[in-house]
Assembly symmetry: C2
Homo-oligomer: 385 residues x 2
């Protein structure tokens, strides 16, 4: 039996994770759940999984949930402390880190320091503080298993090879819903159009990031830390069919690839069961029913965010944290119809270029850079209106 | 330094192997070579690689070569004994088994018994006597590394995988030059047309086998033994682009695949350097330059040899040896314009159906079945003329 806490249990990854856990009652047991403010869903999850401890963002919501659940069963915490309680629960072996953005950083660090293995779905915290996180992971001797389908694919391919044999990692990207569009047409994209991802179902923010290719840029930085590989040995290929989830190119010219249907539950299950692999009832891939698998170079002229991510990674230090923060502000403004689609890249570039990169000697520098970039990006919003 | 003998040094695999060895003088040294009757090429190879011992099929040719080379250097042997000498040379660590057909069986067995690792390019001997060979491999504790691109791919994908995680092996097949042809058009295929394989350069016999899909059938049986997997867990997909060399489907629905350019030198190099992987100057795969990768089911109605191979494998014992022998006779007759393309499958089926399968308790049974099937297949030739 593996004991699990989920940070972000009411989000898309969290809900899918619980769905999987329910299918394997002899293998997995949920001990902790943390959510933002979705009291109703967390209540339902508590009744279904009977965790020892849960946490919500705000005290009022937490008190409300505790009242609904009654005393004596699940203990309800709140705030930053509550998150850390859930992340570091005594018996827990694996923490699924699936909160969106920076809020997941401290509880994930707490879990690592408490010796928990991490199933990581929160790529922003690796982008912001990958160097620090990976150092803590090494010190604690825990496993960090990626949940992103691309990184899960590479993680799986790397299980089969010696590190010295690896020439290059190749992340695949669907290209998003606007691949091939002219820049003038991109300028007219509405918030309603961007989230229509062609092959994966996902939230608004990540759908926009897919459309701008920033998602792939963040994944490049994520891969850099997860696999201890310079970004110039991490390539990106556009693969609209989303069947080859990613690849590892070896020094002898061979490529090892992982393929599957576009269903997040498969990499989630792998992260939960690692180092084992569990049979499941999910649809298997039938390659005779797929369209021809094609691969192309990303168009970084029309979708420059990918290139900005590479540039930030090469500069290093706090630069990627600034990139991520500026992007979050810009995407939120786009989704709020404050700026156009092409303005996202513009805001990111303006902000990052002005950011004086600092060495990342601790979490504080990452948080400071994040706050600086958010403020600066917000002030840039006015310039494009 | 790895010391190597090559059985079949003047054939396509042998020549490619020597070409690779020449590129890595600090890693590989040739100690033994065995050829059939190509004295001129073997002489040239002796002058280039200065092996300790070589062997030819016939005594006269061997004496002629020894005269040309002079005494004191390379020792020239002949016949079955000569083959075994080369296969079991004292210092040799790896024997490349690349003779075509049954003649490679005894020297390969001798090499295994002498504790040599085997790089296996001769699939017929696994088809004939896989059960026995694998038992000897296990007893001797040597490695058997496949050279066939498909099996090399699966071998690579299976590295460090728990066997219980494997749901199915998937061999890819180009489909040969006549995929999609009508049966009536197939009847008119000439020996000159069949060897034009669309993606791989190879010899006449194997090109015809690719066209009939018998090559894939033999590969299914080969995979059965190499990977200790029932044939009903080995699938075949037609993949005309020959980029995905084969795949392993895992119990969780993931597929791990090996991709590369269609160049035999890559799996040969891997087999030589295993368990290491060596950088090389061969063309790397550029997926952005390939056509869309497509996969389909084989057409076993028009190309029934694949199905015959599965049937023989299921019956087991000496049946696959009979299949292989009947096919060799039929392909030779086709190449000699004695029978039509569709008659190859007919001859194979008639012969195999009449073969009373025996248990394969020793090499003798395999050889007897082989001889029986050759004779019977030859007598069938007249019936289709």
């Amino acid at each position: 039996m593996k004991y699990i806490s989920i940070l972000g249990s009411t989000g898309s990854i969290g809900v899918n994770t619980l769905g999987i856990i329910q299918h394997y009652p002899d293998r997995f047991k949920v001990l902790g759940l943390a959510a933002g403010s979705n009291v109703d869903l967390l209540e339902e999850q508590c009744r279904r999984f009977k965790p020892a401890a849960v946490s919500l963002k705000h005290e009022a919501a937490a008190r409300q949930l505790q009242d609904r659940l009654g005393r004596g069963g699940t203990k309800v915490y709140w705030g930053a402390e509550g998150l850390i309680k859930v992340a570091a629960l005594d018996q827990v072996q694996l923490v699924v880190s699936a909160m969106v953005g920076i809020a997941g950083l401290m509880p994930t660090l707490a879990a690592i320091e408490a010796g928990k293995d991490i199933a990581l779905a929160n790529k922003e915290i690796l982008v912001m503080a990958g160097e620090l996180l990976m150092r803590k992971v090494a010190e604690a001797g825990v496993s960090l298993i990626p949940v992103d389908s691309e990184h899960s694919a590479i993680f799986q391919c790397l299980q089969r090879v010696n590190k010295q044999e690896v020439a290059r990692l190749i992340l695949t990207a669907s290209g998003g819903p606007f691949a091939g569009w002219l820049s003038s047409r991109l300028a007219e994209v509405t918030p309603e159009q961007a989230p229509r991802h062609p092959t994966w179902k996902m939230g608004d923010k990540i759908s926009v990031d897919s459309a701008t290719l920033m998602n792939k840029g963040l994944e490049v930085i994520e891969a850099q830390w997860l696999f201890d590989m310079g970004v110039d040995r991490i390539g990106v290929l556009i693969h609209p069919q989303s069947i080859v989830h990613s690849m590892v190119e070896l020094t002898d010219g061979s490529i090892i690839a992982q393929l599957g249907v576009a269903d997040m539950r498969i990499p989630i299950l792998y992260a939960l069961s690692y180092p084992e692999r569990l049979p499941n009832s999910l649809a298997a891939l039938d390659l005779t029913k797929t369209a021809g698998l094609t691969f192309g170079h990303p168009d970084t002229e029309r979708f420059p965010c990918l290139e900005y991510a590479y540039q930030s990674a090469r500069v290093g230090g706090t630069r990627p944290a600034a990139l991520n923060a500026a992007n979050e502000v810009a995407v939120a403004a786009f989704l709020n119809s404050e700026i156009g689609f092409n303005d996202i890249a513009y805001i990111v570039k303006q902000t990052v270029d002005e950011h004086p990169p600092r060495k990342l000697s601790g979490i504080k520098q990452a948080l400071t850079a994040d706050a600086w970039a958010r403020k600066r990006a917000r002030s840039q919003l006015a310039t494009v209106n």
